[in-house]
Symmetry: none
Amino acid sequence: MAAVTQPAESAGPPEGSGSDLVPAAAQGRELRARGRRTMRRLLDAGAAVFAERGYHAVRVDDVVKAARTSHGTFYLYFTSKEDLFRALAVEVATEMTALAGEFPPFADGPEGRAAIREWLVRFTELYERAGPVIRTWTEAEISDSEFGRIGGGLVGEFTARLAARIRPAAPDLDPMVAAMAVVALVERTTYLSLTGTRPGDRDKTLDTLATAIQAGIRGTARR
Amino acid sequence: MAAVTQPAESAGPPEGSGSDLVPAAAQGRELRARGRRTMRRLLDAGAAVFAERGYHAVRVDDVVKAARTSHGTFYLYFTSKEDLFRALAVEVATEMTALAGEFPPFADGPEGRAAIREWLVRFTELYERAGPVIRTWTEAEISDSEFGRIGGGLVGEFTARLAARIRPAAPDLDPMVAAMAVVALVERTTYLSLTGTRPGDRDKTLDTLATAIQAGIRGTARR
Amino acid sequence: MAAVTQPAESAGPPEGSGSDLVPAAAQGRELRARGRRTMRRLLDAGAAVFAERGYHAVRVDDVVKAARTSHGTFYLYFTSKEDLFRALAVEVATEMTALAGEFPPFADGPEGRAAIREWLVRFTELYERAGPVIRTWTEAEISDSEFGRIGGGLVGEFTARLAARIRPAAPDLDPMVAAMAVVALVERTTYLSLTGTRPGDRDKTLDTLATAIQAGIRGTARR
Amino acid sequence: MAAVTQPAESAGPPEGSGSDLVPAAAQGRELRARGRRTMRRLLDAGAAVFAERGYHAVRVDDVVKAARTSHGTFYLYFTSKEDLFRALAVEVATEMTALAGEFPPFADGPEGRAAIREWLVRFTELYERAGPVIRTWTEAEISDSEFGRIGGGLVGEFTARLAARIRPAAPDLDPMVAAMAVVALVERTTYLSLTGTRPGDRDKTLDTLATAIQAGIRGTARR
DNA sequence: TATGAATGAGATTTCATTCAT
DNA sequence: AATGAATGAAATCTCATTCAT
């Protein structure tokens, strides 16, 4: 759970940060050490129970019990269940965006493939921790709540960064569309292989994915 | 196919169907013409409102209003909102499985690509109607309710059928994994392009997808 | 179930009978053979399911299913669930009153005791069939519905008839109070031994009861 | 005793009690003073409205109105109406069992009779408060819910304790059966005389009962 | 005479949020 | 800063009764 939880713990609310990055209830409140610890406990508990049971099935009571605190305390730090989720989502989105920026340039041959595969390993690790939050965006996009914006923004950002890599590597593909396809492929395959619907061998999955992405982009380009 | 959105008064649920294909509340009840019509109205209303607002946001009240009937009547045919959903899911799963069986054999060249593209058009059309139901499985798989089984079964079936096509075309890929990747790619891309997160041009999306699938499988094979 | 069901079947509604003896819905309707049969089926089904699950737990649907007929038909013969119960209650009350009239005169010695015991056997048999209906009066007396009157009337009648036997046998007891005690003793003991709370040996129970009643009345008298 | 109708703020449910003695919803929750007060209010309100209208006729709404609290609060302490009833039943059963243990040894003569009569007075007082709860067991025993066990257990306990008194006093009676008869006699007579079906004179009823019990047991023994 | 279908008032239950200490 | 208790709006579900054929 480390990466999801680090930023806030180490830094506290980023100075002069936009309104979205800090839970509404904590706005304008100075948090002392104890307060920050409690908030962290709630965030971690939220991540854990959302992962376990999904956003809708989770009750504030579950979060509060997992964090070994009380309802009253919860609402001291977050204005609502959604507010807690948003805070988690922002943490995840930050990490995801950073990861997207590190997608390797496409290159032919085994090294190119190895680079992609390595990136996929990191993606899978992140997804393993943050998947439930990510998947909840999917639910959320249906109803046009605020998560939608975060999720949509993230996918857009992610896609744009990949597209920048694809454009030079495959000039005759629409880069945005291709990038979207890669995002879709990676996210969903990881999802399927993690939820055990198709358990399979993780290594084999990563191999196949890396190969297919390389072939899909470069193989197409070769024509 | 008929069931989800067209009236389908004539056909109704397949007669003599196994126990899973009929909503629990209607088990063991003989339905006359009027009863079947009402049940159909409820199913169609359910499909419509789930599509519009998502499973969790929908109230039984929304369904019965859309079907212009009463709460009492709803519970005459379905034991709960979940029961209604299950019935819809079974309908969709049936259609999906049939479509999976019609995936064309992989072939090189423009004809092979055109065949894949044509299949993708049909998939997109089905997804457009049934997507909300399919996406709800995603939510549901988190908690291990019964939908999970239907959804998992469907993905498994779907994957197996595709794998049968991939095996001869790309002998050095693990066919199950590759099939899973295709499923993931197609489903999620269709999802992203339909939910407008990445609106884009639908034709371009289909072109790119068809190309990428062909290249990903055959291009890999060629090596 | 014979005795409970005979009267109505053989005779039809008693001519010029008071309003209470015929279910309201059937008032003023001429019942043909088929109709009488259906009504009988409903009464028997009612007796059976009330016996099995108690008045409140029984749904009209249970009655209707047990009688293998429909809701619509039910309301052709009875105005409500309560109406059905009342009809059954009247049947039972009639039998009970008759039985009360046949309580033997108190006498000392083994013959007196044997006579009481024989009467108890008949009472137990009746109670076995009609107990649930009788017990429901108990529930009903709490809320002052119409059953209360029937039940109260029955207990009154029963008590009065017993009191007439007790008066000459035990001049220094208040006969009404003593009769009430006998009713209480017999009814409740039968109840307890039938509901298996105290399973025990039925013969032993009858022996003890007969002895105790005789001793309670005559033993007291002797002083 | 206190629990059913008196405030009993000081005592509350026995601390460290076994699992059956605490309503399911409150299991594992520490109750502070305020919480215990609210729970007590709900128990008392329940006893009052059950007494007034009977178990089945009572709505949770009636209970919360009588306790001047909210639905939400009710479900904080009890999982259902049945759970509330069970809690009351356990309280009553405890008192009843204690009273049974104090039934006087049977003895001949006026003192023996006076002792029985005195015990009957106490029984009547308890019954007057707790009767509705006791009578509800009767309804409940029809369906084999959990009350049945409590009720059955109570009757069994009660009977066993009486039997221990009867055994030495009337060696040629089956003590269990005789005890059951006494239970039946006392309970039902009290019931009949309280529900006013047979209003009568309470003193006369108690006299007659005491006499009859003594005669029924000792008179039999003399033979 | 019979029936399957429909109804809707009313009951139960949940749970995010606020209160009082 | 923390907490246990309370709230009530809103959702789910039941079932006696009526309707339409």
